[in-house]
């Protein structure tokens, strides 16, 4: 129980960091910092609230599969956006 309260507090802290980072002049690094904070939040939720820390190999494999699929979607979508300008649009 104490662990969950601590994790909740950590999530709130990360939320505060998100809000502060959004208002700082961080230039092009700003979205990457936001992605990093979001990744940290998701990891905490998966590990503690979704109880991945105590799950077996199959459930963890399912979690990894979901992550890999998300990565596939983002990577191939980015392959479009990042290469559009290569031949002048």
């Amino acid at each position: 129980m104490i662990r969950l309260v601590l994790v909740s507090a950590a999530l709130m802290l990360l939320l505060a960091v998100t809000v502060v980072a959004a208002h700082l002049p961080l230039g092009p690094a700003k979205p990457w910092i936001a992605y990093g904070i979001a990744f940290a939040k998701a990891t905490l939720i998966l590990w503690f609230f979704m109880e991945m820390r105590s799950e077996g190999a199959t459930a963890r494999l399912a979690m990894v599969a979901a992550g890999v699929w998300l990565l596939m979607m983002l990577t191939l979508t980015a392959a479009d956006y990042l290469t559009r300008s290569w031949i002048g649009g």
């Binding site: 199959t58 599969a65 979901a66 699929w69 596939m72 979607m73 191939l76 979508t77 392959a79 479009d80 956006y81 990042l82 290469t83 559009r84 290569w86 031949i87």
Partner: protein, 549 residues
């Protein structure tokens, strides 16, 4: 965990030998049932209803296209008719067609379980589907939607004047039904297999449903989120897809097709599982290359997630991304081709029984090959530029989704009908129906390849007069196809009353579902089955077992 799991823990337990059809006659015994077999029947009735509605829309479209002037409907009415046809057929018929009816009924029987892992979740899945279906019907009665089944932005978010939000809410809700079914199948296949039913002894129908369940779970949430974003942009002006608000319309296409291309495999993978069962049963032979066919299902499920960009070759997508998607789209043909070769090789030197299920299976293979090969053409960048958004594409995906999936669905229905109902149907009428469907289908859709190649765009109902002859052929074929689809309704329903009683194993097939009575008892088996050999163990290849067959 369900009672089904307990059964495996008590293998010697005798259970009541009463047919699931006789285990209660009240409405409550059906609408509150947690029996996977009854839920499968609920789904069967529901999807038949939606197939009828989608079919009426198709009939209106084909009637309208009889004349080049589009005399029957207004432009707006035509847009709404093909949108309704697509939305109903994709989400309320094709996607649940085989998994939720045949899969729901057969999967626990095939693996020797008493039920699915989560019986209540299974019933909830049906209710969610029905709620989504009712909302869709309300949309129809309220005037419909004119975006097509693809909801492309900015049309759907800025310009469409139909009931877009209600429709995307209906599809969003139906997605939860799909996800629950996928979770149920995955857990069932992992946890509830009978003693001795190892992964290498799983029937290929199970492998294909395992593969499709992965897609259910991993792809459907993306569609749900995408449609909610469409609704959010339309209702609240949140900029996601509208460039004026900082969004990008192509982002919608990426997200939509990340779900919707795998959705094609949602439709065809269960059909492939059906064909593996029908072919081996008819040939009385073990499948040629069991592991190749099984792994091909998983490969199709995985590679199928990497090809969505071939829907966007002319949308402004980067040419480099397009080239990559083109390569992957060609690659996904490999596991599909493996299956086709292995089915035909299975028939070689088989003890072939030419009954209606085999005729449907053969029809599937021919139509799937035509649809698959034209899919390869569409995966080529240069050809796609020429035929994109033409009737060529319409014909291609109908060869896969209707020629493939619907034909396999009818094949499955005929193959397992004696098991589901305990009755035999008129075999002659069934064979005639299989041939009528095959002829009617080709007459409907082959002219559309020609129309598309000649330049007839899809989603137009006013067209140049030189296209009329082929359009008339197509509409005539649709009428014949409707007759073919209607025929089973009559002789199958007739068989419920007058058909001879079916034995436990009318096809002489292998598989645990054929070891229990027809129809099965409420808890599937009177004794827990124990599996001692692989699937498709037929006397032809194992003469020693002929005496026991």
């Amino acid at each position: 965990m369900s009672d089904a799991a307990l059964d495996i823990d008590r293998p010697d337990e005798e259970v009541e030998d009463i047919s699931y059809l006789r285990a209660g006659h009240s409405l409550g015994s059906w609408f509150l049932t947690t029996d996977h077999k009854r839920i499968a029947i609920l789904y069967l009735v529901s999807i038949t209803f939606f197939f009828l509605i989608g079919g009426v829309a198709a009939a209106l479209i084909r009637l309208d296209l009889l004349t080049p002037a589009g005399d029957l409907m207004t432009n707006e009415g035509y847009n709404r008719a093909f949108s309704l046809h697509g939305i109903i057929m994709v989400w309320f018929f094709l996607i649940p067609s085989i998994p939720n009816t045949i899969g729901n009924f057969i999967i626990p029987l095939m693996i020797g379980a008493r039920d699915l892992a989560f019986p209540r979740l299974n019933l909830l899945s049906w209710y969610i589907y029905i709620v989504a279906g009712f909302i869709t019907l309300a949309v129809v009665l309220g005037g419909g939607v004119d975006t097509g089944w693809t909801f492309y932005t900015p049309l759907s978010t800025m310009y469409a004047n139909g009931m877009v939000v209600a429709t995307v809410v209906a599809v969003f809700i139906s997605g939860f039904s799909t996800i629950l079914t996928g979770i149920n199948f995955i857990v069932t296949i992992h946890k509830l297999r009978a003693p001795g039913m190892t992964w290498s002894r799983l029937p290929l129908f199970i492998w294909s449903h395992y593969a499709v369940s992965i897609i259910f779970v991993l792809a459907t949430p993306v569609l749900a989120i995408t449609l909610i974003l469409v609704a959010a942009e339309r209702l609240f002006g949140i900029g996601v897809f509208d460039p004026a608000l900082g969004g990008d319309p192509l982002l919608f296409q990426h997200l939509f097709w990340f779900y919707s291309h795998p959705a094609v495999y949602i439709m065809v993978l269960p059909a492939m599982g059906v064909i593996s069962e029908l072919i081996t049963s008819a040939a009385h032979k073990r499948i040629f290359g069991y592991w190749f066919v099984a792994i091909a299902s998983i490969a199709i499920a995985v590679i199928g997630f990497l090809v969505w960009g071939h829907h966007m070759f002319v949308s402004g997508q980067s040419i480099y991304a397009s080239a990559f998607f083109s390569f992957l789209s060609i690659a996904v043909a490999v596991p599909s081709a493996i299956k086709v070769y292995n089915w035909t090789a299975t028939l070689y030197k088989g003890d072939i029984m030419i009954d209606a299920p085999l005729l449907f299976a053969m029809g599937f293979i021919g139509l799937f090959v035509a649809g698959g090969l034209t899919g390869l053409m569409l995966a080529m960048l240069a050809i796609d530029v020429h035929v994109h958004d033409t009737y060529f594409v319409v014909a291609h995906f109908h060869y896969i989704m209707v020629g493939g999936t619907v034909t396999a669905f009818f094949g499955a229905l005929h193959y397992w009908w004696p098991k589901i109902t305990g009755r035999l149907y008129n075999e002659t009428l069934a064979r005639i129906a299989a041939v009528v469907i095959l002829v009617g289908f080709n007459l409907t859709f082959f002219p559309q390849f020609m129309l598309g190649y000649e330049g007839m765009p899809r989603r137009y109902h006013v067209y140049p007069p030189e296209f009329q002859l082929l359009q008339v052929f197509s509409s005539a074929g649709a009428a014949l196809l409707a007759v073919g689809y209607a025929m089973p309704t009559f002789y199958l329903l007739w068989s419920l009353r007058r058909g001879p009683r079916a034995p436990a194993n009318p096809w002489g097939a292998t598989g645990l579902e054929w070891t229990t009575s027809s129809p099965p008892p409420k808890h599937n088996f009177t004794q827990q089955p124990v599996v001692v050999r692989g699937p498709y163990y037929y006397p032809l290849e194992h003469p020693a077992s002929r005496a026991n067959a």
